[in-house]
Structures are given as structure tokens and as C-alpha cells.
Amino acid sequence: MNVTVVHPNLDTENPKMQARDVSVFYGDKKALDTVSIEIPTQYVTAFIGPSGCGKSTFLRTLNRMNDTIATARTEGEILLDGEDIYKSGMDVVQLRARVGMVFQKPNPFPKSIYENIAYGPRIHGLAESKADLDAVVEKSLSRAGLWNEVKDRLQDSGTALSGGQQQRLCIARAIAVDPEVILMDEPCSALDPIATAKIEELIDELRGRFAIVIVTHSMQQAARVSQRTAFFHLGKMVEYGKTSDIFTNPLEQRTKDYITGRYG
């Protein structure tokens, strides 16, 4: 029961990130129990499961955002390109520049649209001149599919955009620093179906350029956007495989029950 079922036909060559026996504790409570997974470079990986199953917790360990929670403690190893990100001496600032994150609720900075995008490149010194920075802002907004909507009002506040635009702004902000991995924590849960469709389209376009990990409540969304799916339940990773296999041929009874809507 404790062991994750991994589908046998999964090719695990060239993983971007590897987790080995990762457990997370909040105080005395074990929120995540010995999770091991390999996250591929070229695909979108989805984490699904009912609320409180540990999928968001696991996502937050991948760029050490759990460090901000005083009581959180992580065990096990997480490798990014073969390097343990929890080893002592790991530079967390650099790690987060390499592993970006998009949150559940759009959280643009209360600054201009331009500043929202320019902030990351500026603090990391990625742009040499104003012209460079302008180019980065335009490229990031274009990639996030937002450029045409905001190019005439870059100085407006980012918080004045609609919810869906704000979330794409946050994605643009994340890709502005050219990360290797983008983590998305239920990025569409606060959005309407049309905005959700745009974000999903965007995820599809970004695939291949960045390794993408997405946590979602919606099984349909996982089926639409991901190529790999991991099912979490009660702090454990129950099953991991190609998305098509998980949805058509789940090996575990709990996975089958969840994807057929018996609970969750």
C-alpha cells in the first residue's frame, strides 16, 4: 500500500527533477509520506488528488517555498539536474530563479504591468539596458499571450487587470527570469472557463521550453494539459504514469475510484 505504483511503460530518461523518498512534516503531522518521482523536461506533469492529499505541499518542496513556513520540515532528496536542492549551501534565491512558481490566486505586485515583469530580470541583473529590459518584458508578455491586450497600458497597475489576465501576468512574470521549471499551484481555480481555456492553451505552448508541473483539482484539466499524471491520496503518491494510461487504465483501485468520481 505504501509503495507508489509506477506504470511500467514510463520512459524515465533525462529527468529534470527527481524526488527520492520525500516526506514533509508540519510540526508533528506528516503531510507527505515518502514520495519518489521523476519529472521529465519536455512534458507537463500533473498532480491530482482530493484536497489535503499533499500535492500542493509536494509542489512547494520543489522550489523550497515550504521554507517560509516555520513549522515545515522536509526529509529526503530532491534533485534538480542531479543536484540536491536541500543540501546545505544550496542558494535558495538561485534555485527559485531556476524553478519559478505560479500560485492559486493571481498575486501580481501592486505595481505597473511593466514593473511586474521587469522586477525579476532586474533583481537578477538579466538585462543590461533599458532596451534589453523592454525586450524581455515584451517577450515574456507575448509568450504569456498577454502582449496584445496590455501593450498600450504597460504603466497601468497589474491589479487593475481581470482575474485571467492577472494570472497570465503572473505566468509572464515567472517566465521573465527564464526558469528551467515552472510550478503551477492550481492556476485556474480562481478563474472562469474562458480564462481557464486561455491558461491551458498557454501551458500547452510553453511545454517543451520549460518543464511544467501543475497541481489541479480538475481531472479534465489534467487530462487536457498534461502528459504525465501523479495521483496523490492522504499524503502518499498512489500512482504515477502517462496521463493517458492513468485515465484509461489505472492500476490502483483508489485511482480508479477517484477518476471515475466516486470521491474527491
Binding site: 522550489n63 517555498m65 517560509t68 516555520a70 534565491v93 538561485q94 527559485r96 530563479a97 519559478g100 512558481m101 505560479v102 500560485f103 490566486k105 498575486n107 501580481p108 505586485f109 501592486p110 522586477y119 525579476g120 533583481i123 537578477h124 497597475s157 491589479t159 503572473c170 512574470r173 515567472a174 521573465a176 527570469v177
Partner: protein
């Protein structure tokens, strides 16, 4: 839709409607009470302002007597070069300017009245000459302040002889109550006709500068550290309780502390704005820390997460995101603390800022007094409307800064 008589809808009963009416009545009552409270405050404020203005106008007026002096006959020597030196007043005094002024007054007002002209009135004439030495070749009239006895006679107080003299002079148009802008330019004096608030105002300004320079950075940094960096444990709990207690300590206790510690450390700076500012900074700091912590707590964690996720270091998160968003709240607390410090008398009395200081302070270490102490010392002579003005200015500044820094998220 559902008219079936058998089914009693719970929202259609008489009892429900009675409760509904009751609820509306309660709402109306509450609204009326709120409106009443606002009206009451407005009336009280208006009453306060009107009384202040009416009483305060007296502070800007003094009884003056017009005296014409013909300098061509006075035999005073001097030109722009000799009168530009620092001892110009003494030069004029040695040449007999006081006597010239007194003589002119005697001629024009009569000996009895001239005796009541303020003994130092010639200094105003001297100041005018120093400002424009060409005066010595002209005839010019001056409005000279009368002495305290004649002034109270003019106001219908004091001895009957003075009242009679004042009435007589006033009927002849020789003395009158005039607007006196000098009230804003002078310092304390023994003659109530010649006092001004500039000395106290300058003392207050210096003191507030010291207070702000100490309390604001220390308070904000303490608040930031406690909120963003400090671990939650027994020590930080203790610090938090201590800061909250400190904010509730009566101000006179801070005065005792200033007396015992600061004056012990710097005994030669008694009465100085530096010591006063340090004492008031102690008093203001806890207010800034508490309001600062609340403002920092109110910054949504999602903003911190967003900044951390693009790779901002904790210091960058604090200074690029948290502090700018918390600034309006911090400023509100700072203004409240500073306004309280500005109006504070008790702790400054303890460190000797109640001395009679006739000259505006030269700097942070020269003896000074502050507005509230000055008002306390004058208590029955001068009205409070200067404090009100200062408060009004501070409030205006507060509103401006708050609006400037206020941002939505």
C-alpha cells in the same frame, strides 16, 4: 407560486414579519445614533475652533503707540558699513538712541505716557535702522509697544490711573491695538506685549527632528525585524509584551528616565532639544513599532510568495514589496506618535525645558523650550490656537502622505 393553504411558509407568518419590522427599526435606530455622534463631534469641533479663534486673535495683537522720530535732528552717526557689524545695536545705544526715542515719545505723548512706553522699545527702532541705514537722514514714525501697565489699562484692567491715562490717549488716537505679526517672530519675554512663539516653535521643530530621526528608523526596523525575521518564541513574546507595556507608560515616567539617564550622560545639555527629542523618541518608538507591525502584518502573504518565487532575497522582499505597502500604515502610526510627542509637556518639564528662554535656540544643543511647555508657562495669557494650527498642519501632512502611498492590492 406555492399557494397551497395546507403548507405554512415560515417566511410568511405574522411573527416573521414582526421580527422583520423589528430588524428595520433596529437599523434605523443605529443609523440615527451614528449620525448623532457625528453631529455632536462636528458641533464640539466647531465650538472649539470658534472659541480658539476668538480668544486667539488677542495673541496676534498688541497695544502700540505711534511715535514719529526725526533722525536728522538726533545726531546719530552711522552708515551701512558701521551698522552692518554685529555690535551695531550697541553702537546705536552708545550714541544715545534710547534717549532719542524717549524724547520723541515725551514730546508727542506727554511725559506721563512716555514713561509707560516699553523700556526696550528703542530696540525695534534700532533694528529698523540697521536694516536700512538711510533712515538716519529721514523722519519716520514707528509703532512702539507700550509697557504692561498701560496695556492692561487699555484692556480696562489694572490701576484706575492707568485706565484713565489709556482712555485719554486712546481718545486722542495716540495708542491703539494693532495686528502684530511679530508674535510669530519673537521668543519669550517678561513683557506680555513683547512675547512671541518663534522661540518655542523653533524649539519644538528641533525637538521633533531629533525625535523623528531616532524613533522612526529604530521603530520601523524593530517592527520589520519582529514581523519578518524574528522566530516566535518566549523571548520575542517577552519583547512584544514589553513594547505594548511601554506604549502605555505615562509620559512623565519617560521624563524621569530622560532626567536620570540622558542628563546623567550629557549633563551640560540641560534644556536642550537634543535631550528633549531623545526622551520623546523613547515615548514615540513603541507607538511606531506597534502600528508598524500591524501594517506589516496586513501586507498579504501572497505578495511575499510572489516575490520569493521570482527569486527575490528576503531583504529584497522586505524593501521592495512589504515596506512600500506597509508605509501608509506605518506613517499613520508615526504621525499619531509624533503628534502626541509634539503636544507633550510633562516629560520635558522633568528635563528642564521649562526654563525662561528669551532667545530662539541656535541648534540642537542650545537651551530651548517647546510650544506646549510655553503654553503651559503662559497658561492664562496666550491661547492655544497655535497648537491647533500646528495640529492642523500635521494632519494635513498626514492625509497627503497617506494618500500618496496608499495602494490597492
Amino acid at each position: 407560486m406555492n399557494d397551497a393553504g395546507a403548507l405554512v411558509l415560515p417566511t410568511r407568518t405574522d411573527a416573521f414579519e414582526a421580527r422583520l419590522r423589528q430588524r428595520y427599526r433596529a437599523e434605523k435606530r443605529f443609523k440615527a445614533l451614528g449620525l448623532g455622534a457625528i453631529l455632536f463631534s462636528v458641533i464640539v469641533l466647531a465650538f472649539l475652533l470658534v472659541t480658539m479663534t476668538i480668544n486667539g486673535i488677542g495673541g496676534f495683537q498688541r497695544v502700540e503707540s505711534e511715535v514719529t522720530i526725526d533722525f536728522t535732528q538726533a545726531g546719530l552717526a552711522g552708515d551701512s558699513s558701521t551698522l552692518s557689524q554685529s555690535n551695531a545695536v550697541q553702537t546705536l545705544e552708545a550714541q544715545g538712541l534710547p534717549a532719542v526715542v524717549a524724547m520723541a515719545a515725551t514730546e508727542q505723548l506727554g511725559a506721563e505716557a512716555a514713561a509707560q512706553i516699553d523700556g526696550d522699545a528703542w530696540r525695534e527702532v534700532a533694528a529698523a535702522i540697521i536694516a536700512d541705514p538711510a533712515l538716519l537722514k529721514e523722519t519716520r514714525s514707528f509703532s512702539l509697544a507700550v509697557g504692561p501697565k498701560l496695556a492692561s489699562g487699555y484692556a480696562g484692567e489694572g490701576s484706575p490711573e492707568m485706565q484713565a491715562l489709556a482712555r485719554e490717549l486712546a481718545e486722542d488716537g495716540k495708542i491703539a491695538k494693532n495686528f502684530d505679526a511679530g508674535f510669530l517672530e519673537r521668543a519669550d519675554a517678561t513683557n506680555p506685549q513683547k512675547v512671541g512663539i518663534w522661540g518655542a516653535l523653533k524649539g519644538s521643530i528641533y525637538t521633533m527632528i531629533v525625535t523623528l530621526a531616532l524613533a522612526f528608523p529604530i521603530g520601523v526596523l524593530a517592527a520589520l525585524y519582529l514581523e519578518e525575521y524574528a522566530p516566535r518564541n518566549r523571548w520575542t513574546d517577552l519583547i512584544e509584551v514589553s513594547i505594548n507595556n511601554l506604549a502605555a507608560v505615562p509620559s512623565i515616567i519617560f521624563g524621569l528616565l530622560g532626567l536620570a539617564v540622558f542628563l546623567w550622560m550629557f549633563p551640560s545639555y540641560r534644556s536642550a532639544p537634543l535631550i528633549g527629542g531623545m526622551t520623546l523618541a523613547l515615548m514615540t518608538m513603541p507607538v511606531i513599532v506597534i502600528s508598524g507591525r500591524n501594517a506589516i502584518k496586513a501586507v498579504p502573504p501572497s505578495i511575499r510568495d510572489g516575490a520569493l518565487a521570482v527569486g527575490a532575497s528576503p531583504v529584497q522582499v522586505v524593501f521592495h514589496h512589504v515596506l512600500p505597502l506597509a508605509l501608509p500604515g506605518i506613517l499613520t502610526g508615526t504621525i499619531i506618535g509624533m503628534a502626541r510627542a509634539l503636544g507633550e509637556t510633562a516629560p520635558l518639564l522633568m528635563i528642564g525645558m521649562r526654563a525662561f528662554v528669551a532667545a530662539p535656540p541656535e541648534g540642537f544643543t542650545s537651551p530651548a523650550t517647546v510650544l506646549p511647555v510655553q503654553i503651559f508657562l503662559w497658561s492664562d495669557e496666550i491661547d492655544r490656537n497655535f497648537v491647533e494650527r500646528t495640529s492642523a498642519a500635521i494632519n494635513g501632512l498626514a492625509i497627503y502622505l497617506r494618500n500618496k502611498f496608499e495602494k490597492k492590492w
